[in-house]
Point group: C2
Chain length 353, copies 2
């Protein structure tokens, strides 16, 4: 038992394979690189035998030389927002399909982030994908100085840092304003989540701008503070303290909206959509559940996924940096469910007022 576990079942190496085939190590190695200069029949022979013996180049040895790791580091913080597991699932599958491996770092507490990112960076990932609301400036510096490109998903980088993939949140906010106003809502409210998040800021900006353009009063704002169910719920409870009569609500995202609806019901007995229309953002699976039936703006996930995989591939395989830093896609068409109701007064309804 003195031997090391991993050595017991020795893995086959280039040397073994070369000897087996009566070729040089160099030739065998070349067979695995599409661009390498090697006779096609030779390559075929090598690849076939490799498959038989179960040989795979050792990625550690490979990376030591090539400085490429085929690893994408992924920083996540907000797995309680169902949007992210949904995104991760798709992203993982696609990255896997192009041969990239994903190494995960959780950044639940802001102070954990640095250590987590350091750990990640020591594996020299070809790129970092940030699914978190925040990346500490320390962590960002580390990436910079290590030459590791960052992709910020669903969040525009603060100062033009790194690459960004997101949907046009402002346009989404405008769509919601138009929708609510077109369906007869006149007293609007925005339920704000994490104040520094670009998604939050932009959605509000679009919503507010369009509301004013359409000649209504500036929307009220309720600060939930976080992108969580609990924050939304608390904001819903706080509806009680709001003076004006609100008839249309836009929440920073779906999970906040879902919490908000329940909080409003619990706190002030407000019923959705009878007393209040509520709109979310993202179109997470839960938004379609019968218990919520949330009207929402869907993220253009298909586009965003294609962009991120394309970018990841470029960043890990070519030496030139991609020129386009920001990919911003129009949101999908609003999905109208049962959390909103038209308040347009037909002539018959005029008795009301």
């Amino acid at each position: 038992m003195r031997q090391r576990r991993k050595q017991d079942s020795r893995r086959v190496t280039v040397k073994d394979l070369a000897k087996d085939l009566g070729m040089s190590v160099s030739t065998v190695s070349r067979a695995f690189y599409p661009d390498a200069v090697i006779a096609e029949p030779t390559r075929k022979t090598v690849l076939e035998r490799a498959a038989e013996l179960g040989y795979r180049p050792n990625p550690f040895a490979q990376s030591l030389i090539t400085k490429r790791t085929q690893i994408a580091g992924m920083v996540v913080s907000d797995l309680t927002n169902p949007f992210y597991p949904e995104v991760m699932t798709q992203m993982l599958a696609r990255l896997q399909a192009v041969g990239m491996n994903v190494m995960l770092a959780a950044a639940n507490e802001p102070d954990q982030t640095d250590e987590a990112v350091d750990l990640l960076l020591s594996y020299q990932p070809d790129l970092l994908i940030v699914l978190a609301v925040t990346l500490s400036s320390h962590a960002w510096e580390k990436c910079e100085q290590g030459g590791t490109p960052c992709i910020f998903f669903n969040r525009l980088s603060a100062n033009g840092q790194g690459f960004g993939i997101s949907c046009d949140n402002e346009m989404g906010g405008r769509q919601v304003a138009d929708f609510l106003i077109d369906t007869g809502h006149r007293n609007l409210l925005y339920v704000s989540a994490f104040p520094d998040a670009s998604t939050n800021v932009e959605r509000y900006a679009g919503f507010r701008a369009r509301t004013i353009e359409r000649g209504l009063a500036e929307p009220e704002v309720l600060e939930a503070g976080l992108f969580t169910y609990e924050a939304g719920y608390q904001a819903g409870l706080n509806m009680a303290h709001l003076k004006g009569k609100i008839d249309g609500v836009f929440c920073a995202n779906d999970i906040v909206a879902i919490g908000f609806m329940e909080g409003a019901q619990a706190g002030s007995g407000l019923r959705v959509p009878d007393d209040l229309s509520v709109v979310g953002f993202d179109d997470i699976t839960m938004a379609g559940w019968p218990s919520h039936e949330l009207t929402t703006v869907p993220q253009p996930l298909e586009d965003m996924m294609e962009a991120i995989v394309g970018l990841a591939l470029e960043l890990s395989n070519s030496s030139a940096r991609p020129s386009q830093k920001i990919h911003c896609f129009a949101p999908g068409k609003m999905i109208i469910r049962n959390s909103t109701r038209s308040r347009v007064q037909t002539s018959k309804d005029l008795s009301y007022a």
Copy 2:
């Protein structure tokens, strides 16, 4: 621009550090191994200077020699069940805290699993953590022959394969039976999820056995088939086709229970808890939301987390295999919420019948 990106900003290596300190490479290297023979003051000097220069041993070069990678491979399939993101978050944080990195493989489609696991295994993780319902036998063989230990989380391995960490699901099922019977329920139903999953099988076994022990008729069974909201919802709809009057329902897990409650309401107008008591399993965050208020059996996550980190550490740092293969913890105390109601008839209530 002909140079490679990663080479531009050269990372500091042992050599650099050794030269800087006027020591040999060997000595510098030893400073990073607690068990290595090295004068304590020397070690201190090295470590300090390393921190200043931002030196970290290159894990790829390290692994090439030590055959240890400090990588835990994680196979996930079921991120739509909120239980898993919750588990992942905690597990990630804890593994990070002990210096392990997590490499992720998604196994959404059964046929993707093999390729994903292969990719993962080529990085020679010290161990594999399986959070998925299923690991193909091909994948398992690969682990075996590569000497990579597997830990199955929340699922007992089929044929004594690998290590298992789970809660005592059968005991949980028994608790639910006792609880429902004690609170006056007499006509019980089990909503079954994925038939091959050990969690599903054991929870049912315990529930059924205890029901019979208590002298009631065997519980009815409704096959949802999957651990998903949608499957639970469908099962709820199917309540309509059930002949007998059911008053107490145990669902394979929380997400199924939540779907079930809504399906039962939508399909047959059955109200929880007035017409029906419903119990879940896991205690996911959502179970506590006002819209669900689900009575449930909590998993002993604290215990399970400690066990998995302990096991991971043993497997990645020592050469001896841990002796205990199965860690099975008693579930937590049932959490009684509003999805269940006592149906014990006090003398006053006897008018009802």
